[in-house]
């Protein structure tokens, strides 16, 4: 295209400042690579101050690149390929900002930036570990910056440079409507902040091993580990709520690779924190903790490779872009080096260090340390199992196989083997002492909790009997378990719920028991209780879930799961308004509510495309979840072509009666006005038979007005969509007078527990971090000597 054509099509020349800002972004990234290499070299050679400052300026470079990209997004600079693909001029400012991380390049930049922020915070607190901490952290951020140098969001559109002018397309293609939701503004930054914080744990573990510090690093890393666990956990929960509230399939968690990639590091992180408790109170597990400190980060790097490399694109609903070859090489080489280097270092140095300081076991038999040990093994096993699950498609694909996919029920049947013992330990653990306990003593402590649990489960079963929870149809639906046996659904769901109930009650009991004596354990008990309550909610709402499909139109209300649903119209016109809601009245005999699912059209490649948001009605005992699909608006899937005299019959209803046929006959072509003159219209004479009655209509097609639908029969309007003057054939559409909305309605009991549990968990986590902050050991102080801790009967209750 020449310049005139470009200008006529709305293309403009890119302003100098925009090109300059993009260049600055590119140089920020390249400068960061150089600075991180310098920081690693300087620190490795012992020039700590130089290393520290190059590191800090390198981090600023990454943040600068982020600021440049965000500015370009907010200013609609569509000459950049990445911005053109993810934004358009009419997007609300906060979505333009959120679009920064809507694609692959931007999410790598976000990861680099959150990592950099944590690096900046932690490097000043790294004390004697600073030398190798800086080296490790710089190598990682340098690799990320290297990836960004190839996988850059600052690439100008190809072929945009003509005669020395960068041409800017008039508009971008916009942000995917399913991402235009407030969750996309808060969820990705939160979860990436969690991912970024994992680098701190890894860098501490490596630098402690190199620096020969098996003991003191525990106190240093512990607050960071708690922060990681809390933020990552918050991000995970947000992801689940996002899925539930917007995606319309009625669930929180689908075991998709992308979800697993964030879940596995979280479990490793939880195992690490429990390992640290044993190390600081018992003087043991130094070697294990080196390993556990590195695993969350390594698991995430591995997961990033799996999901971002494009290898999994065949096996997931998420669309993954293929990564730039050079960037992928950097990711694979540096990731592989980190992984191999870490394990070699651990095997050769970490374990030897640990053996020097590990205190031998004093108490034999089953005690609290054994409980922690079993818990950490189970958590590690759970994380490993999920990691294997998400790797299966990849490894089969590598082996040249056609690929297989691991589905939700399969994950459930594997995960449950870890879930049940972990929950039991979480409940029973707090009742164990560090010293050896007799079985009878332990049993005596637990009796009350077991009694309360049994009582609560009894009430739950009674409630099940009274209400209509889960008892309609699928009560004894078998659920497949590994090794070929099956269990009925409702008893199985109740069993799992009973176990979470036990864990929640046990932690609450212990909390009340110890509250007077010490408040430091409160955070932990609350967090465990929150996890149990939230999982109980997930189990009950999924296990006893019911769903039905209903068709509703203005004239024919639908019914499903005992709910009568009628359509009341739309809140706004035109239908392209994102705030438009479809209104439905839902009655279940006693109660009535108005459901307001979102529904609007956007322009797609093949004409308008409908988008919907589900409606969720919350009650204390259950949620009613309505997932709306875009309405069916015409009799046929697309307009149908007729030759003169042709008849086409379409079956409606179940086809048992001859009245269930709609037949259309094209009788002839008409013209009003002289051919070629403005205002001329054409018509098609149609005979339509519906419900045994005959109707004759003549829909018109105007050169200037286009198709004008006319009422034809009680249920249909007829429209002439096009014609072929040569053979006088026409294209006809029969539009429904009352569009039919397909609705999927879900009944999900006890979803409220998910919210309550999340609240308790967050509160407990914050409380934990607060108490840790108060009790933080000064950097120079060694942890309490082990002989002192030996005297403490219960580590959660320090002697006053």
């Amino acid at each position: 295209m020449d310049q005139q054509t470009l200008a006529a099509n709305g293309f403009t020349a890119a302003p100098a400042w925009s090109l300059l800002l993009g260049q600055i972004g590119v140089w920020c990234v390249l400068g960061a690579v150089v600075l991180f290499v310098m920081a690693a070299l300087a620190s490795g050679l012992g020039r700590l101050k130089l290393g520290r400052w190059s590191f800090a300026i390198g981090c600023m470079g990454l943040l600068g690149a982020m600021a440049a990209l965000a500015t370009l997004f907010l200013k609609d600079r569509f000459e950049y390929e990445y911005i053109g693909e993810h934004s358009w001029h009419n997007l609300a400012p906060w979505y333009k900002f959120a679009a920064v991380w809507a694609g692959q390049q931007g999410s790598f930049l976000l990861w680099a930036c959150t990592s950099a922020v944590f690096g900046l915070l932690a490097i000043w607190k790294s004390g004697p570990l600073q030398r190798w901490f800086t080296v490790v952290y710089s190598l990682f951020l340098g690799s990320l910056a290297g990836i960004l140098a190839y996988e850059t969001p600052f690439r100008l559109i190809p072929d945009g440079l003509i005669n020395g002018i960068h041409w800017v397309p008039p508009d971008g293609s916009g942000l995917n409507p399913s991402l235009q939701n407030y969750w996309v503004v808060i969820h990705p930054p939160t979860i990436f902040t969690g991912f970024g914080s994992l680098t701190v744990l890894f860098a501490f573990a490596v630098s402690a091993m190199i620096g020969g510090d098996a003991r003191a690093w525990a106190a240093r890393v512990r607050p960071w580990a708690l922060v990681s666990l809390a933020i990552l956990g918050l991000g995970l929960v947000m992801g689940g709520l996002w899925a539930y509230e917007t995606l319309g399939w009625g669930g929180f968690w689908a075991w998709d690779p992308v979800e697993n990639v964030s879940f596995v590091p979280w479990i490793f992180c939880a195992a690490f924190i429990h390992g640290l408790i044993v190390q600081t109170t018992r003087g043991r597990w130094h070697g294990t903790n080196f390993l556990l400190g590195g695993l969350p980060f390594l698991a995430f790097v591995y997961g990033t490779f799996l999901t971002r490399s494009g290898f999994l694109s065949k096996f997931s609903v998420h669309s993954f872009a293929e990564m730039n070859r050079s960037a992928l090489m950097i990711l694979m080489i540096s990731g592989g080096a980190f992984l191999a280097g870490f394990f070699v270092l651990w095997a050769t140095r970490g374990r030897a260090l640990a053996e020097q300081v590990d205190v031998p076991i004093k108490n034999e038999g089953f005690n609290r340390e054994k409980a922690y040990e079993s818990g950490v093994i189970l958590l590690t096993g759970l994380a490993t199992a999920i990691a294997i699950g998400m790797s299966v498609p990849f490894f089969i694909g590598l082996g040249g196989g056609n690929g297989k996919v691991v589905e939700e029920p399969l994950y459930h049947s594997v995960v449950v083997w870890f879930f049940v013992p972990i929950m039991l330990l979480m409940g029973a653990g707090p009742f164990l002492a560090w010293r050896r306990m007799s079985a009878r003593e332990f049993w005596n402590r637990l009796t009350n909790v077991l009694a309360i649990t049994l009582g609560l489960v009894g009430i739950l079963m009674f409630a099940l009997k009274l209400s209509d929870w889960g008892l309609h149809s699928h009560a004894l639906d078998p659920i497949a378990m590994p090794f070929g046996f099956k269990v009925p659904r409702v008893p199985w769901t109740l069993f799992l719920a009973a176990i979470t109930c036990f864990t929640a009650v046990a932690n609450l009991w212990r909390l009340v028991e110890l509250f007077r004596r010490s408040k430091t354990g409160v955070g932990g008990f609350l967090a465990h209780m929150g996890v149990a309550v939230a999982l109980g909610g997930l189990i009950l709402s999924r296990g006893l879930e019911q769903k039905a499909q209903v068709l509703v139109s203005q004239v024919s209300p639908g019914a499903g799961l005992g709910y009568a649903i009628s359509y009341d119209g739309l809140t706004s016109n035109p239908l392209t308004d994102r705030e438009n809601k479809a209104l439905f009245t839902v009655i279940d005999g006693k109660r009535e509510f108005t459901a307001r699912p979102g529904f609007y059209y956007v322009d797609g490649q093949d004409g308008p495309q409908g988008f919907t948001w589900p409606h969720i009605q919350h009650w204390p005992s259950h949620d009613v979840y309505l997932a709306l699909s875009p309405p069916v608006t015409s009799l046929w899937d697309k307009p149908v072509q007729f030759r003169v005299g042709e008849t086409k019959a379409t079956q409606v209803g179940d086809g048992t009666s001859p009245l269930d046929i709609v037949a259309v006959t094209y009788l002839g072509f008409t013209r009003h006005g002289a051919p070629g003159k403005a205002g001329t219209t054409f018509g098609a004479k149609l005979k339509i038979v519906e419900g045994g009655r005959e109707y004759t209509v003549e829909p018109q097609f105007g050169v200037s007005t286009g198709a004008v639908p006319v009422p034809a029969t009680p249920n249909y309007n007829a429209a002439m969509m096009g014609m072929n003057a040569a053979d006088k054939s026409v294209t006809i559409d029969l539009l429904l007078v009352h569009p039919i909305f397909p609705i999927e309605i879900f009944y999900k009991p006890m979803v409220i527990l998910v919210w309550i549990g999340t609240g308790i968990l967050t509160f407990g986590g914050l409380l934990s971090a607060f108490y840790r902050r108060n009790r933080r050991v000064p950097p120079e102080a060694q942890p309490a000597t082990v002989s002192h801790v030996e005297e403490v009967e219960d580590a959660l209750v320090p002697t006053a």
Binding site: K314, V405, L410
Partner: protein, 129 residues
């Protein structure tokens, strides 16, 4: 000496248990995961849960409201088969060109109760190479 042997025994036992557990998990995942198949493979398989991936043949898409099914042909380089999907169509079905149908063959048709739609819409523009 005795103490050390006890430790070694414990370590060996732990290692065996770990290997067994990991082996069990891998076995469970591998044997129970549902395979991705081509059209030709689907036609000859009697599995009830396969993932059939292919291109939607646009002209064949037909939604039958009375039986609440969506009927369309899927084709790949090994052949073409009719998919009968019961349930609500996925949101972006209209724009989709590729689909993954989960289900099994029944009377020469691929009967599916789950559709995964890949949507190379204008929002996720395919990389032009």
């Amino acid at each position: 000496m005795l103490k050390q042997r006890g430790l070694a025994k414990g370590a060996v036992l732990t290692a065996i248990v770990c290997v067994l557990a990991i082996g069990g998990v891998i076995y469970a995942f591998l044997t129970n995961s549902s395979p991705y198949v081509t059209v030709a493979q689907a036609k000859t398989s009697n599995s009830e849960r396969m993932h059939l991936a292919g291109d939607i043949v646009k002209e064949t898409v037909h939604q039958d409201l009375s039986s609440r099914t969506l009927v369309f042909d899927v084709k790949d380089n090994t052949g073409q088969v009719t998919v009968v999907y019961s349930g609500t169509p996925p949101q972006n079905m209209g724009e989709a060109t590729k689909v993954v149908a989960v289900g099994g063959m029944k009377d020469g048709q691929f009967v599916s109760d789950q559709l995964l739609v890949k949507c190379p819409s204008k929002y996720e523009s395919e990389k032009k190479s």
